[in-house]
Symmetry: C2
Subunit: 249 residues, 2 copies
Amino acid sequence: MYIVREQKIIASPEMRTGSEAQCLRDVFRQQASEHLTAGKSLFLEGDRAEHVFEVVEGALRIFKIISDGRRVITGFLYSGDIIGLAVGQRYLYSAEAISVATVKRVSRRRFDLAVTDNQRLQPEFFALVSDEMAAAQDQMVLLSCKNAEERICSFLLKFMKHNSLPGERRRNIELPMCRQDIADYLGLTIETVSRTFTKLIQKGVVSIENSALRHTIAIERPALLARLAGDGEEVCWHEGLMAGQQAGH
Amino acid sequence: MYIVREQKIIASPEMRTGSEAQCLRDVFRQQASEHLTAGKSLFLEGDRAEHVFEVVEGALRIFKIISDGRRVITGFLYSGDIIGLAVGQRYLYSAEAISVATVKRVSRRRFDLAVTDNQRLQPEFFALVSDEMAAAQDQMVLLSCKNAEERICSFLLKFMKHNSLPGERRRNIELPMCRQDIADYLGLTIETVSRTFTKLIQKGVVSIENSALRHTIAIERPALLARLAGDGEEVCWHEGLMAGQQAGH
DNA sequence: CGGTCAATTGATGTAGTTCAAGGTTAGTGG
DNA sequence: CCACTAACCTTGAACTACATCAATTGACCG
């Protein structure tokens, strides 16, 4: 007996070997699932980058530990995401499970072969790398400019977009990560994260299930949330480009 | 009559077509040089990504303009750098010359062909993409954790490393960008950048040529500069990894 | 029931922003 | 050659968003 997620069946109706893969996720199809308990490390920053992983279920955090012991979370990964794409010889960050999680792995060698051999996979591969780069840049904008409220709202929005199937519009979201994770991701302290949530509740933007441990968030006013995220209805190209001086030599 | 930069001769002793390139920069070899005046835009965020560029001379800034008109500089590019690698269909950022600059361009199609055709180029290509990703992550760490002084020192160090040939150890560096550029890159205000420079001068870490317009910096105490950058003698792998709680489910 | 751990809340401190002014250099035109 | 202007940079004073420190709450668990 086995569990099949529906969207995968559509992507690949037959069993395939890696080299016949129709999409990148097919490369992982026949790999064994590995189960991780909460907090379990997948690899450490600086390890030789010998595998590429697909998240099958659950959520992971990727992070760096800096010299003074603090932690910077550079991203969260959810079911369907692929880890370890744009890395060189060694992993740029550590990865660990937030809650229980299931992953599959293939060796880097095999993954690279699948991509280089199979012309079909290359566009998807480059698209994923490009997405990763875009996410990193968005995070730089967030960390450069946004205040605590904008950061939290951006975070919630991004989580909603990423973790809802196309068309679906769920009101409740279940955050797998704790407040400290959110703080380390948004460049804030846990106290500021907590206070900002309280403020958003008071404003009627969200509400929090008092039950479990404040991980279930109901989005009461999605439009307001989007406005408070301060992304100005997506980037405004071709206007305001006059800002910033022309540096003479 | 033509000008040849010495280090390039070593890389490729003969004239080559793109498909015979020994290294990525050879792909640009036969392209015409384009000259940019200070402030001249190369492309805008959101433009279709139709070219890849090599910086031949001078410096460029890549940046995003956010909804409220502010500017976030996500990187600087100097002679030898390649622009437009890990982008998808459209550029993720705008690029413009800081001072006068010279670039070469090849079409994306031709660049991609050169890379896919020529197995020799792929490792270099992936290494560059990986470097770009690593730089983005370092920037996230800087923006998440570092204070003004650490940011400025990190910036100066990185500039030195990037813009000095291996082995060379110049004491004076000539910053092509103005204070506002530095501020927009480091997530600070121009005033804080200025004040921090003053503080570093008072501490005897650097000194600034009073002549031109404060763009010439002499590094008086490189070791202290490195210490103040707060990167803790490179990342400390496999220690301090216990920090950060294990989130139960 | 006491212990633990995450989250919240309150009080206080501060690094960096904001606003405002002044200084230096370079360019322009009389 | 010297006003006049325009960039760019620096400096000062006041403010504020967030950090820090400290205490409390509430859920879970042996």
